[in-house]
């Protein structure tokens, strides 16, 4: 008889057999599989939810604070003539993108429209608001800010970009925390698969030993377990996305109501479909890593010294 050689069809056959075997083994112990699947899905869903939340937060902050406006409040006694005179040089200033001067009456009208205190203001004898100059800087605003603060008859200079800088710092911190949490949960997902595969290996120790005796390579031994890990990863990825979507649809009405109460017309972006292959691919890779880790450990443990 001729010595066997590994043809492409045989190679595909080996993989098909390993895949079918892995699938049927998962199906044969549904409780254990479902448990591992759920743990991995939750470990994937949480960082995904955090990442999505961060993305929405970034879009929201960009939405509500796209300008870096500097608001200059004049002292109460400063009339519009004086205010116009002080503001005039900034109209054509190279460091200013736009300048707008608002009279106390214009300010009061705006305030009455956008504030719940309109009724309270209406009972006042006189307008308490000062004249206001709103400046949008062009380029670096640091020098402009100093010049505005040094102007005469100015009560207070409010720089809107400051809180945005602080918010951005918080968002940057959030990203770091998210990465750390995601790392921990991803490790948890890998370990969940590794544990499932380890249990599978424990029930097949004799089979593995026999296959090794017959000349099976490490790759041949590893293959069905890798399929198990990959399958678990893929199914966990699908379940994680389902959990995420369910969670989002659950909290969306509350968040939207909260945003509306602040007068925001911000809309959540829909879950982007293009990330699904990336999520599923990542989940499969994590499953493969967990399975590889478990099988490699077993092969190391059972290999005689020096072989």
């Amino acid at each position: 008889m001729a010595k066997p050689t590994l043809s492409l069809s045989a190679w595909i056959g080996q993989h098909a057999s390993a895949f079918a075997g892995s699938f049927s083994r998962l199906a044969r112990r549904p409780f254990s599989s479902l448990l591992s699947l759920s743990v991995m899905a939750m470990a994937l869903a949480l960082p995904m939810a955090l990442a999505w939340s961060m993305l929405q937060m970034q879009q929201l902050t960009a939405h509500v604070q796209s300008s870096r406006a500097i608001t200059v409040f004049f002292q109460p006694g400063v009339d519009m003539v004086r205010a116009s005179a002080i503001a005039a040089p900034f109209k054509n200033d190279a460091t200013v993108a736009r300048m707008q001067l608002k009279s106390p009456s214009e300010g009061l009208a705006e305030f009455q429209q956008s504030s719940d205190l309109a009724k309270a203001i209406a009972v006042l004898d006189e307008n308490p608001l000062p004249a206001v100059m709103v400046v949008e800087p062009k380029g670096d605003e640091t020098a402009l800010l100093q010049r505005l603060r040094a102007l005469p008859d100015v009560e207070f200079v409010q720089y809107d970009g400051l809180w945005q800088q602080r918010l951005n710092a918080w968002l940057a911190l959030g990203e770091r925390v998210l990465l750390a949490i995601a790392g921990i949960f991803v490790l948890g997902a890998v370990l969940a698969v590794a544990n499932n595969v380890r249990l599978d290996i424990a029930t097949r120790v004799r089979e593995i030993a026999v296959l090794q005796q017959l000349g099976a390579s490490d790759g041949y031994i590893r293959r069905p377990f890798l399929y198990t890990g990959g399958l678990l990863g893929l199914l966990a990825g699908v379940l994680a996305v389902a959990l995420l979507l369910a969670g989002l649809s659950f909290i969306r009405p509350s968040v939207m109501a909260l945003l509306r109460s602040y007068g925001s017309d911000f809309q959540f972006s829909a879950f982007p479909l293009w990330v699904l292959p990336a999520i599923f691919g990542m989940a499969v890779i994590l499953g493969l890593c967990g399975a590889w880790f478990a099988v490699a450990h077993h092969l190391r443990q059972t290999r005689p010294v020096n072989l």
Binding site: M1, K3, P4, T5, L6, S7, S9, A10, W11, G13, Q14, S17, R206, E207, V210, L211, Q212, Q213, L214, G215, A216, S217, D218, G219, Y220, P304, V305, N306, L307
Partner: protein
């Protein structure tokens, strides 16, 4: 052509047991050799060294002109595919069918499904197991399991077949048939090394006999010497 050569091989296990002590012999391609000894005298260790399940403590085991000590990593698996092994306890996967067990070496070697089916069917027919092909191995008798183990060792047409008490669980008639089959295998060029303490069988076969005691080669009896008594 020398296929297997033990060159002053010693094996001492970590617990201190000296299984082999300066053992030297060689086996030619197509030769049948019996190894007899008391239990624990080193037969199984000898087979393990040839199969690369163990390494010698000293000396060299040569297979097809290559020192097995130099074989590492994935080449260990490739070497084992050239070696058929019949275990005393069968070492079958009991939940799998007879066909699946016999097919294992061919699947590992990467044969096509058609080739596997043809070769396994032929082997099962030869060993009288055709009707048991789709029985689970746990559901057949011990003697049949032994034959399945032999079929599995032979199906991939190995360069050498190492058998540890291959006819231990078989009735005399079937044992004789199996031995004739192994003789036929030798005629095709496969070397067969059989560890057995069934002296009656060994004498009846009139093949070369190595006698081992306490890990040492005590005697190397040729078929002619055996015939002379």
């Amino acid at each position: 052509m020398t296929l297997l050569r033990f060159d002053n091989v010693s094996k001492k296990y970590p617990g201190g047991h000296q299984a082999l002590d300066g053992l030297s012999f060689s086996v030619q391609a197509g030769e049948m050799v019996f190894i007899t000894s008391h239990s624990g005298a080193g037969k199984s260790t000898l087979l393990k060294l040839a199969h690369l399940s163990e390494r010698p403590s000293s000396g060299g085991v040569w297979f097809g002109g290559k020192n097995l000590n130099s074989i590492r990593g994935r080449h260990v698996a490739l070497h084992r595919r050239k070696v058929g092994v019949v275990h005393q306890d069968h070492c079958l996967l009991l939940e799998r069918t007879v066909f699946e067990n016999v097919a294992l070496p061919l699947q590992i070697a990467g044969c096509s499904a058609t080739e596997i089916r043809q070769r396994v069917d032929r082997m099962l027919e030869t060993l009288g197991l055709a009707e048991r092909a789709h029985y689970r191995s746990i559901d057949i008798s011990s003697g049949e399991q032994q034959r399945v183990g032999i079929a599995r060792a032979m199906v991939s047409d190995p360069d050498i077949l190492l058998a540890d008490e291959p006819t231990g669980n078989l009735d005399p008639g079937l044992a004789a048939d199996i031995m004739q089959m192994l003789v036929g295998l030798c005629a095709q060029g496969t070397a067969v090394v059989i560890a057995s303490h069934d002296l009656a069988l060994v004498k009846r076969m009139r093949k070369r006999v190595l006698v081992i005691d306490k890990g040492r080669l005590m005697d190397d009896i040729s078929p002619e010497d055996l015939a002379d008594g």
